[in-house]
């Protein structure tokens, strides 16, 4: 069966063993439902972001130097990509919409892990690496949003770098290191471009680790039960079963993604904000500064506290608590299907994050302030209640096999 060429390569790389262990003889539970396709979709979007980004960087110029009409070299180069570069508009819209789609997919992927208990023993490390990936994604998105040097780029970066400035003792130093000066300016743009190129490479590496950590413990399943991975009653081989399922899912996902790219790339100001079509102007603050939708839940947690430092502490805590989530949850049962109390709590948590996101996006009113405060409270209450849950939660009987 092996060709001479493949045999030559195999002898020198062990390619056949790799293909067997990773694909054709790697077992996956056969009862995985459609929520299990989002990891593959996330990998696909990451690759697409890196490829489009490489081509965009061939034309993009990270310089805040002013040009006619109050624009800048950076803003001009983005418009040149949109207007003069062949299919530059396609590259840029795929990349800009891709950022939002990446977060959408990763949030669903995380939600699946939370619902079916994929973060629990023995898969804690996969979850923790996933949280690192989330943080790096947020960083990459934040750096990337500065690059067009529009009003929201500039003021968003100003607000966030000032946040770091409020950290006690080290604040000024961190702020200055981030900005390359005392305010957001040309040096900031240059280092953000550099970091925006670096972070996706880190994502690729840590994403590899995320998958590597999956291999010894195998995929979780909707029932959250331990399966004998050698029993063909329980499992199918990753290739061709899971790969074909994922390929179909990626294609279906692409229909949504490309529909937005070709017919509604700004998504009414949600994916590319209205104010970012105005050139950055350090002398004029936009009436309403809000991050892009995927960062708004954390922005709400930041804003509900009157004291800035407290807000920063809670925003940091809201991300940090994700690291200890696998250890806070002490229940031996994984899937929410068999945990009636946790099931209600985790669904409430998903709604809670959407409420947080909504409050962070709109202008602050009394109503959003109250809603944001309650939602922030629930965000932490969800995690902090987990250790006490096994004391009174009556879990349902687990099935024997799939």
């Amino acid at each position: 069966m092996k060709t001479k060429l493949f045999a030559w390569v195999d002898r020198r790389t062990g390619a056949e063993a790799i293909i067997k262990s990773q694909l054709t003889e790697y077992p996956a539970p056969k009862n995985l439902n459609w929520m299990w396709v989002f990891g593959a979709i996330a990998m696909f979007v990451l690759i697409l972001q890196i490829v489009t980004g490489i081509f965009l960087a061939m034309y993009y110029k990270p310089s805040a130097e002013l040009t006619a009409g109050g624009f800048s070299v950076a803003f001009d180069s983005v418009e040149r990509i949109m207007r003069d570069v062949n299919f530059g508009w396609l590259l840029r819209y795929v990349h800009a919409v891709g950022a939002s789609m990446f977060f959408l997919v990763v949030y669903i992927h995380m939600g699946r892990g939370m619902y079916y208990g994929s973060y629990k023993e023995p898969r804690e490390l996969i979850w923790i690496m996933g949280v690192v990936i989330l943080l790096i994604m947020q960083g990459a998105a934040f750096f990337g949003y500065l690059l067009p040097w529009g009003q929201m780029s500039f003021w968003g970066a100003t607000v966030i770098t000032n946040l770091f400035g409020a950290v006690p003792v080290l604040g000024d130093l961190i702020g200055q290191l981030l900005m390359g000066g005392f305010s957001v300016g040309d040096p900031t743009l240059n280092r953000f471009f550099s970091l925006h190129y670096l972070f996706p490479l880190l994502l690729g590496a840590i994403g590899g680790g995320h998958m590597h950590a999956l291999h010894p413990v195998h995929s979780n399943n909707p029932d959250g039960i331990d399966l004998d991975q050698n029993d063909p009653k329980n499992v199918v081989m990753f290739h061709p079963y899971v790969t074909m399922k994922d390929a179909f899912a990626v294609s279906a996902f692409l229909m949504l993604y490309m529909y937005i790219v070709f017919f509604n790339p700004q998504m009414g100001g949600y994916f590319i904000e209205v104010d970012n079509y105005l050139p950055a102007d350090p002398l004029q603050t936009p009436a309403h500064i809000a991050p892009v939708w995927y960062l708004t839940p954390w922005y709400t947690i930041l804003r509900v506290f009157e004291v800035k430092l407290v807000g920063i502490a809670f925003m940091g805590a809201s991300l940090a608590i994700l690291f200890v989530y696998p250890f806070l949850d002490r229940s031996p049962v994984r899937s929410a299907r068999y945990r009636p109390v946790y099931q209600g709590m985790v669904i409430m948590f998903f709604i809670d994050v959407i409420v947080l996101g909504y409050c962070g996006h709109t202008t602050t009113t009394e109503a959003t302030k109250i809603a944001g405060t309650i939602a922030t409270f629930y965000y932490f209450a969800f995690f902090l209640a987990l250790p006490f849950l096994p004391k009174f939660e009556k879990t349902k009987a687990l099935p024997e096999g799939v």
Partner: protein
């Protein structure tokens, strides 16, 4: 429960995104509907005329070059027409106003913004532009001078004095002025993203291809999985 509830949450998320669209784009204010067709050469050319005759007195559109006017098939401007428009300017030059920034500040108090990206750069988009051009009125409270009071401008006091002469126009001119406002709105909508027609045309084929691909992959998946129970 199980999967369904997660899908419901996702659906709620999408619903929130879409229901917020009108609000996000309009900023709460209701604008008049702009009757624009960015595929209509006739309308775009009329809009270009309004732009060069009126808007360019004060405003630039630096990302639109004279060469661009020739290259975009929607406009289809001949070399001779482009030469007439550009005068002494280079073919690669953007549409720059003759008004010097310092003169603008002296006359109007500020430098008029570049209009290349004015449609996506304003809440309400093209409807806002049309409403603004036909939104000049007398200030009931008398605080803002005629020509600076606009129903649709945030805060109602605009530095742009009634470019089309909407205020106190004769009733028989209404249709003509509205047409001019529609046309120039269409032109501005077009130049903000001059490949938008190509994008939408191509998008139909892309969606068609993806539909076929998804169908084939669905059948393939079903075939591969048919012996799994």
């Amino acid at each position: 429960m199980k999967l369904k509830s997660i899908l419901l949450s996702a659906a709620a998320c999408v619903a929130m995104l879409t229901s917020g669209l009108a609000f996000a784009s309009g900023g709460g204010m209701v604008f008049k509907h702009a009757d624009t067709d960015v595929t209509s050469q006739a309308q775009l050319l009329r809009g270009l005329t309004v732009f060069t005759d009126t808007c360019m007195g004060c405003h630039s559109a630096k990302y639109i070059t004279y060469k661009g006017l020739m290259d975009y098939p929607e406009l289809g401007i001949s070399r001779a027409m482009a030469d007439e428009f550009r005068g002494d300017n280079a073919l690669s030059s953007g549409l720059h106003t003759e008004l010097a920034p310092e003169d603008a500040v002296e006359s109007y108090g500020k430098v008029p913004p570049d209009l290349s990206l004015v449609v996506p750069g304003r809440r309400g988009g093209v409807d806002y532009i049309y409403s603004l051009l036909t939104g000049y009125a007398h200030d009931e409270s008398g605080r803002v001078d005629d020509g600076n009071y606009n129903t649709y401008f945030p805060g109602n006091r605009t530095a742009m004095p009634d470019p089309l002469g909407w205020l106190d126009h004769d009733a028989e001119d209404t249709a003509e002025l509205e047409q001019q406002a529609h046309d120039v709105s269409a032109f501005l909508e077009f130049i903000a993203d001059p490949h938008q027609n190509t994008r939408r045309d191509l998008g139909v084929y892309v969606m068609g291809f993806l539909l076929l691909l998804t169908l084939v992959l669905f059948l393939l998946k079903r075939e591969v999985w048919k012996d799994v129970h």
